[in-house]
């Protein structure tokens, strides 16, 4: 395994490469604008093609393992729905903002700092992380705390494969994740909408559960910026806000981390945030949800339909108290 230590001066601070990358992005963006004008003018391309064209660096995962046991066979939401309807406050509060502004995020070079109760702390590069386990497709339901849901064909590998690398010690009871803070890349961070960096956490048994995914892409391609490039958490039985995006820091800790939304409004958002139709959000019912693409609401399932896999993790716990 290759562990790269951060240099004293970050590459991005000294190298004209950054300018080069920006220039390329600018040229690409100009091309997209021209293409968009052309498309609107003549309607030559379908919208999905147009959206794919906006991400010229999008790479397909060459060998994607398909058809695992956890996949749902429900109808997938479109690439367009999944990439234009996002809660990612680092790019603005509107659900269309991330698709509009996330082009400023630079998912390469990217590294993740690992620290805390583990045998192998250090700084790890995304190129290496991508190689640690075979990348597979996981078709999961995603249920937002705001009572909408979608079905996403994620690409990634089990979070346990990722975390095991760092050899967490027996004192590691929880794992904490943090999102990048850089207002130049994440313009929403110029406003104190939330306390940055966005922070989330899982109990170790939750993090090591086979359903929990290190998300590296969707629809067979590397993760679009607005969905949390280059790596994110995907926990399908919890409300979407638990599935933290664009992770730069992983810390193994003894005490329960204080996640951002709990810090923001503890009466409304807890640490566990398991999808639970019996425990309402104080301001709205969690009993039903609107699946994007459907007009009427459908019933919300316990643990978002993953009760068979995860209910045992919470045996004996009062889920009204630990919401």
């Amino acid at each position: 395994m290759l562990i790269k230590k951060a240099a004293d001066i970050r590459e991005s601070e000294v190298t004209p490469k950054e300018l080069l990358v920006r220039r390329r992005e600018f040229i690409a963006a100009a091309g997209v604008t021209a293409a968009a004008v052309a498309t609107n003018g003549f309607g030559a391309f379908s919208e999905d093609e147009n959206l794919l064209a906006q991400n010229p660096k999008a790479q397909k995962f060459p060998e994607l393992k398909k058809g695992g046991p956890f996949n749902t066979d429900e109808k997938l939401n479109s690439y367009k729905d999944i990439t234009t309807y996002n809660n990612f406050y680092e790019f603005g509060l509107d659900k269309a903002d991330p698709a509009r502004y996330a082009h400023s995020l630079r998912p390469r070079p990217w590294s993740v700092v690992v620290e805390g109760q583990c045998g192998k702390p250090g700084t790890y590069n995304i190129e290496d992380i991508l190689k640690w386990a075979p990348i597979e497709e996981r078709i999961y339901r995603l249920r937002c705390v705001e009572a909408w849901s979608m079905v996403v064909p994620w690409a990634g590998y089990p979070m346990s494969e990722f975390l095991k690398r760092f050899e967490p010690t027996s004192r590691a009871k929880f794992v904490e994740f943090k999102t990048l803070v850089d207002p130049r890349q994440m313009p929403g961070q110029t406003e104190p909408a939330l306390r940055w960096p966005y922070t989330e956490g899982l109990r170790m048994d939750e993090a090591m559960h086979p359903l929990t995914l290190l998300g590296l892409g969707l629809y067979g391609e590397v993760m679009p910026n607005q969905n949390g490039a280059p790596l994110r958490l995907v926990v399908p039985w919890k409300y979407g806000f638990k599935s933290i995006k664009s992770i730069v820091r992983v810390r193994f800790v003894e005490d329960e981390p204080l996640n951002t939304w709990k810090q923001q409004q503890a009466q409304e958002y807890g640490f566990y945030a398991n999808v639970n139709p019996q425990v309402d959000h104080p301001r709205w019912s969690q009993g039903s949800e609107r699946r994007l693409g459907e007009f009427f609401r459908r019933k919300t399932l316990m643990f978002n339909g993953y009760a068979d896999q995860v209910a045992s993790l919470y045996a004996g716990m009062d889920l009204r108290k630990f919401y």
């Binding site: 234009t84 309807y85 659900k95 909408w148 301001r283 609401r297």
Partner: protein, 204 residues
């Protein structure tokens, strides 16, 4: 043109067009692209325009005092009715698409969730105002009673702001609900000030 002609041919149609533009734009944008969550788009658009038009009706009287242009009062009724129209669309989007016209389910929502309670109150209080908006009803009730009844719009405005404020999660200033709250507060404060100023004047 005489001023009546101006009013009939220019100002009234302009008010109608202005008030119908948000709906037209909503239909047009959904026709172009339904988006990921069209129900949310419809709900948010009709909701915010209800509040905006309520604010416009509330602004007319203070504007009259400030400018002395008394004809402004003629546009209060159409704007108020359009506010009710958008409120009706907003309510039925919720009642139909969230509750499939199930009254018991909706009532539970109204009882349990403060932001729904506030929104429902705001909407229900507009119903008598819309019904009594005709000249016939003004005559039947008498100007004084009619005016008193139509003070309900003050409660509607406050409830609508609360409804909006409680719905959104991010309360950092300056969010929209805070701005609308401030505008409504100023418009109502104007009336309070005017009331006391007049009373003081009559005592002299």
């Amino acid at each position: 043109m005489t001023s009546t002609q101006w009013r009939r041919r220019v100002f009234k149609p302009a008010v109608w067009i202005a008030c119908l533009t948000p709906l037209g734009y909503l239909i047009y944008s959904l026709y172009l692209d339904l988006g990921a969550n069209p129900v949310e788009t419809i709900t948010n658009t009709t909701g915010i325009w209800t509040l905006r038009l309520v604010v416009f009706t509330l602004a007319i009287t203070p504007l009259r005092w400030l400018t002395g242009v008394n004809q402004l009062i003629q546009y209060r009724r159409p704007i108020g009715l359009f506010a009710f129209f958008y409120g009706l669309l907003h309510f039925f989007t919720y009642f139909f698409l969230d509750h499939q016209f199930d009254f018991a389910g909706m009532w539970e929502d109204v009882r349990l969730r403060p932001y729904i309670t506030a929104g429902f109150t705001a909407f229900v209080l507009m119903i008598p105002l819309a019904l009594t908006s005709t000249a016939g009803w003004i005559r039947r009730l008498g100007g004084k009673n009619w005016n008193r009844l139509h003070m309900l719009i003050y409660i509607t405005a406050c409830a609508a702001v609360l409804h909006y404020y409680w719905k959104v999660s991010i309360k950092m200033p300056p969010t929209n609900p805070t701005i609308y709250g401030a505008i409504v507060a100023v418009l109502l404060a104007f009336r309070v000030w005017r009331y006391f100023a007049r009373r003081a004047a009559s005592e002299v």
